[in-house]
């Protein structure tokens, strides 16, 4: 545990760098500019998208917070894709691995470090948006509504794990491109698989699409507006962490077998 926290500390240390301070300023500016955005909504004739992210029940997602989350996702993909390849390229990883630390511990430390950096970015934007909204509208968001916005962070855990997984296979730019393409394709497949579920079972396409869909995370689940309670909330948390674990397992397998020189 101590070894993991060591790697975590090294990763988080980059928050002290001026570049990251600039990033935080950007997060604050984004938070301030999106604080008065409306609820995220889709018209009923948007079809599948309406079915996936419709807002008839429960606490709604606020467009401003979704924008902050999307910016956080970009930061996550950027940090996740570059950190490990950069360590390998600069031979920093060799230095770290000369210590009594395994490759898996290094990987987990890196993962938590990047997640912490992303959460900091998201919190900076979210807190600013909340405060600016308070200052402008004279009212503070309800606790349940704020909680709903923070549930979006559950999507961040598998996203970072996914990016790290690709970064163990590819160089930084390659990992970024492949992650972005994979996420885009995941969303496409998720929408198609839900659409296919609405189709009659006799269409033979159903089972094939479902099999394919299991290889791609369904990020739409994290953007549903509903009363997140009971089994759905538990399922969402289990979904986020199980996906994270799967991606990290693949990444650790690759880390153990790859040549670091």
């Amino acid at each position: 545990m101590l070894k993991i926290s060591g790697v975590f500390e090294i990763t988080v240390k980059k928050m002290k760098e001026p570049a990251f301070a600039m990033l935080l300023v950007i997060a604050v500016l984004i938070g301030a500019s999106v604080s008065e955005m409306e609820q995220l909504s889709f018209r009923q004739d948007s079809g599948v998208l309406f079915g996936l992210i419709s807002l008839e029940q429960g606490q709604p997602l606020l467009t401003g917070f979704v924008v902050i989350f999307l910016m956080t996702a970009i930061v996550a993909i950027f940090s996740g894709a570059t950190d490990i390849p950069k360590d390998i390229e600069s031979r920093m990883i060799m230095l770290v691995l000369t210590k009594p630390i395994t490759r898996i511990e290094y990987l987990i430390g890196k993962y938590f470090g990047i997640v912490a950096v992303c959460i900091c970015f998201f919190l900076s934007g979210a807190i600013t948006a909340t405060l600016v909204h308070w200052a402008r509208a004279g009212e503070i968001y309800q606790v349940q509504m704020l909680a709903r916005q923070f549930f979006m962070l559950l999507a961040l855990f598998p996203l970072v794990a996914l990016t790290i997984m690709f970064s163990t296979f590819l160089a930084d730019i390659g990992a970024m491109v492949v992650t972005a393409a994979y996420v885009f394709f995941s969303m496409l497949i998720s929408a198609v698989s839900i659409f296919v579920d609405m189709l009659p079972k006799s269409l033979e396409v159903v089972s094939l699409v479902h099999v394919i869909a299991y290889f791609f995370p369904n990020f739409f689940y994290f953007f549903n507006s509903c009363k997140f309670s009971g089994i759905v909330l538990l399922a969402l948390i289990a979904y986020s962490f199980s996906m994270t674990a799967i991606f990290l397992l693949v990444a650790s397998f690759q880390m153990n077998r790859r040549d670091m020189i």
Partner: protein
């Protein structure tokens, strides 16, 4: 010590993997069902989504979906009547040839079912080129096996088919003749008796014309089928 720890980890690995995959599949299934349930609750219809498809493929996809829906309906059918109706609808959606074949099959398989009426109507006095041809006496035999309201629809449907096949007045009158032995239960029968009395008048068959006129008048005093059926259904619901 390290070796022992490593061996312990190796033993635990399959269990961890199993638990992770179990959690993944179970949570995915729950969330998927939840999304689908909500999509259903908010009546996101398939047709709205299908309308967004490019015009070139829309009709073909719609046709495929319709056929698949009917296949599902046929699989879900539990009674003989449901099976007949679903199989007719499915064959109709596939092609006209398939429908004709299905009608012929239904006449052989279910000669007394009320739901077979469309098949009998279709082949009533059909030309020799058709897969089957049902004569008027054979059709009357079938009519004896069914009851209202199917009986009325079968009589009416048969009459329309004969007219479309340009049957002679004599044949039409022969077709409607069993109506004289029937005790009509609904106002809907009135137009059949009107038809019969007019045909009998043209054929100068006064006896038949008179009987038909009497029944026609009697029908005028009866209620329409909907009015009789409505209270019956309400009574059934109350009993339940």
């Amino acid at each position: 010590m390290n070796c022992q720890m490593q061996s312990g980890r190796m033993k635990a690995a399959p269990f961890i993997l199993g638990a992770v995959f179990l959690a993944y599949f179970a949570s995915n299934a729950i969330l998927r069902q939840f999304v689908l349930y909500r999509a259903g609750a908010q009546s996101i219809s398939l047709s709205t989504i299908l309308e967004k498809l490019p015009a070139g493929i829309r009709d073909e996809v719609r046709q495929r979906v319709l056929i698949a829906e009917l296949k599902d309906r046929l699989l879900a059918a539990s009674t003989e009547g449901e099976k007949i109706s679903a199989s007719i609808a499915l064959a109709g959606a596939i092609s006209d040839k398939a429908l004709q074949e299905k009608y012929a099959e239904i006449i052989d398989k279910y000669p007394s079912a009320p739901e077979s009426a469309p098949a009998f109507i279709n082949f009533l006095m059909a030309p020799n080129t058709a897969l089957k041809s049902i004569s008027i006496p054979r059709y009357h035999e079938y009519l004896k096996k069914i009851h209202d309201p199917d009986l009325f629809y079968a009589f009416d449907g048969g009459l329309n088919t004969l007219k479309s096949r340009k049957a002679a007045n004599k044949e039409l009158a022969a077709y409607l003749l069993p109506l004289l032995e029937l005790k009509p239960g609904y106002r809907e029968y009135q137009r059949l008796y009107v038809e019969l009395s007019e045909l009998a008048f043209q054929e100068a068959n006064q006896d038949v014309e008179l009987k038909a006129r009497k029944l026609e008048e009697a029908c005028g005093k009866l209620s329409f089928y909907d009015k009789i059926l409505g209270p019956q259904q309400a009574a059934k619901k109350t009993k339940k």
